[in-house]
Amino acid sequence: MELLLLAVGTIAAGVLGCVAWFWGSNWVLDTILPPRGENAGDNIRRASMIRPWLFLGPAILFLGVYLVYPVVNSFWLSLKNAPSTQFVGADNYLWLVGDSKFRESMVNNFFWLLVVPALSTLFGLIAAQLTDRIRWGNIGKSLIFMPMAISFVGAGVIWKLIYEYREAGEEQIGLLNAFVQWIGGEPQTWLTIQPWNNFFLMIVLVWIQTGFAMVILSAALRGIPEETIEAAVLDGANPWQIFFKIKVPQIMGTIAVVWTTITITVLKVFDIVFVMTNGQWGTQVLANLMYDWMFRGSPDYGRGSAIAIVLMVLVLPIMIWNIRNVRKEMR
């Protein structure tokens, strides 16, 4: 009951606040620069220059407090020592370059970037094309999309159980080893086999992201004008040619958006690795490494922030490209 009141109160305060800001700031502006009297022309011109900033004001303020300030502060912290008491310059970055776990994380992140967006987009595209053709396509689509509804942590736990290991001959509680044992193979400790364990972790994210890719690409496929396909059919194109030469080129922009969106998710991958291996057995990734230095043992804000900044610098160009692509799509 209290929660409900609080929620209603918050919404009311938010809406009323916005209205009050809109009305109040306009009123103030109009009082200071009245659109009448001898300076009416000048005043209107000046007021219309100020007005957009008044409306943007709150947004810029919150963006500053929640986005810009943390970035600047992280950068500042990354130049200081562990408890942030002393300025150490580029020491933390120099340490990064020499740290073997950082190098391992960079290599692993690189492979994640290579594998996950490619496979998710590919599987998504295939699923989108196939499910549009078959009768139970909608059921298939729901099944493929369902993992999207599971949190990354939940997915990590599920897949950790799938890879679970019991000694050979014992009853296997892990799906994968149960299968391996059933066909007469030797159960494996999947999550500790380097470097393949990295790919076993990637599968989890592919499993989650395929649904996302499928939904977006399926919409794009439906948006393709029928005429182009009919023309191709009349010209005697076979289904493969129609798909690769007519359909795919027309949705290339959407594919790029899907690809880059997943890429950004991948760069930030943390939960899956944290839950399943916590970066042990050579599976460390940047976000998890940052968490380790930031919060484990005696916290080292300097090094944690340095890794965070590296992560941000890596995400930035992809983010910019992604936003450009989305805008192009919208036009």
Partner: protein, 451 residues
């Protein structure tokens, strides 16, 4: 309206219960208890009526209830009111609270390393000058305990800033006596015998050990306990101290040999249940279950005194699964080293009542009340071991009392990035195939960057 009345009734009931907290053992009744110490403490701490005191610690659930059964004796004796609060993120919270200038009066540290950090920042108050001497005299291996709680203050001067209370013993090997009987094995008397027994079991076509390093985010820590225990059996305690502070580098041949010794057990497919590959992925909580399989998946499991919590349902410590002391070497004369852990009480404010509480912890009765229940062992040699709630605890306590050398869990004494990071990871990499030298080099590499 009705609910409000009921709630307030419940609240009143609760507060009255707290006000007249019961002394669970009536003073003077059971003569095994050292009631004289209680009377003496009460007589020497008068005129403190009405003062109050906040204690903050990591204990929740069962441990919290048990600690709160000790507190009333202090309250009754002094008239001081004590409020205990527990948190499972104690380590973060105590730093935040003391930096924010609102520390509790007394804090219970599970790791001396963290207390040392706070002492250096000036957040802790030094304890009475005679504390070190008192510990040396009244605790088994007391000088080791005193050294453990001696930290450098903000001025760099070394003083005693903590009072150890409630210990854990880690140098234990768990086994099923019935299985040992059936196979005709005897509890090994020396480290050499332990290794011989290991080989004997393999010869008989069985698997000697269950080792599991898995622990979620903390995967690898059980291996650090192994290495610390072996370190104390292969090298003098001074080297252990030097190792913990990195005066002796982690990749010194001495340490590498110890890591290799651990590899002798853990990296041999015949020696461990599931083979060496399973060691790092098996959860430490699942690991002891192999002892109780039929036929047994393994015969021995090295783990601290808390592990019976994770025995399969219906298995009782001391009956179905018992333990023996992880034996010391007969060839290298290093006495009876014991690896352990424990909590340390420190004072954070200038509250007179807080110091009185530390005084209280010196009395045998403060230990005996908890001992007589469960989950408590103490190195205090002024208590009657007969009071231990069960035989298992009593024997663990005896191991602590018999110790000629006591060393605290080394990974808890190292800097966090090593003890709760690089050391774990290094051990996982070592079991996963790296050589001891490579693993040690990597850990030392990280330590170098911390200096």
């Amino acid at each position: 309206m009705k609910t409000t009345i009921l709630t307030s009734a419940a609240m009143i009931a609760l507060t009255t219960a707290a006000a007249n907290a019961q002394l669970i053992f009536e003073p003077g009744e059971d003569d095994r208890f050292n009631w004289a110490s209680y009377e003496e403490f009460a007589a020497s701490h008068t005129g403190m009526d009405g003062q109050s005191l906040q204690v903050f610690g990591p204990w929740l659930g069962g441990d919290k209830d048990l600690f709160e059964s000790v507190i009333p004796y202090f309250e009754e004796a002094t008239g001081i009111e004590v409020e205990y609060n527990g948190s499972d993120s104690f380590e973060q919270q105590i730093v935040i609270d003391s930096e924010a200038g609102s520390p509790p009066d007394v804090a219970v540290f599970p790791q001396p390393g963290l207390a040392a950090d706070l002492a250096a920042k000036g957040s802790l108050k030094p304890l009475a000058d005679d504390t070190a001497a008192w510990l040396a005299e009244n605790y088994a291996a007391g000088e080791d305990w005193a050294k453990l709680v001696t930290f450098a203050g903000p001025d760099g001067e070394e003083k005693v800033y903590g009072f150890p209370y409630k210990a854990d013993v880690k140098s234990l090997v768990w086994y099923v006596p019935e299985n040992f009987e059936d196979a005709g094995y005897e509890v090994p008397e020396s480290y050499e015998d332990l290794k011989a027994l290991t080989e004997q079991i393999v010869e008989d076509g069985e698997t000697p050990w269950c080792i599991g390093l898995g622990s979620g985010g903390a995967t690898g820590w059980p291996a650090t306990d192994w290495v610390e225990d072996l370190m104390l059996r292969m090298n003098p305690p001074e080297d252990y101290d030097a190792w913990v502070t990195n005066e002796l580098p982690f990749n010194d041949p001495e340490i590498v040999a110890v890591i290799d010794e651990f590899g002798w057990f853990a990296k041999n497919d015949d020696f461990v249940a599931g083979g060496a590959g399973a060691v790092s992925s098996t959860d430490f909580r699942d690991s002891p279950k192999g002892l109780f399989d039929y036929p047994p998946a393994c015969y021995m499991h090295r783990q601290a005194s808390f592990i019976p919590t994770f025995f399969p349902d219906g298995m009782e410590a001391g009956v179905d699964g018992d333990f023996f002391y992880f034996p010391a070497s007969a060839e290298v004369d290093l006495g009876q080293p014991v690896l352990g852990g424990g909590t340390t009480f420190s004072v954070l404010t200038d509250n007179e009542a807080a110091m009185a509480f530390i005084d209280f912890l010196r009395t045998p009765i403060a230990h005996e009340v908890w001992m007589a229940q469960k989950g408590f062992i103490t190195p205090h040699n002024g208590v009657d071991p007969e009071i231990y709630g069960d035989d298992t605890l009593k024997r663990m306590g005896q191991i602590l009392l018999d110790a000629t050398t006591f060393r605290f869990d080394g990974s808890d004494l190292m800097p966090g990035a090593i003890g709760a990071g690089a050391f774990w990871t290094g051990m996982v990499d070592f079991v996963g195939g790296q050589s001891a030298q490579e693993a040690a080099d990597a850990i030392q590499g990280t330590w170098d960057t911390l200096k």
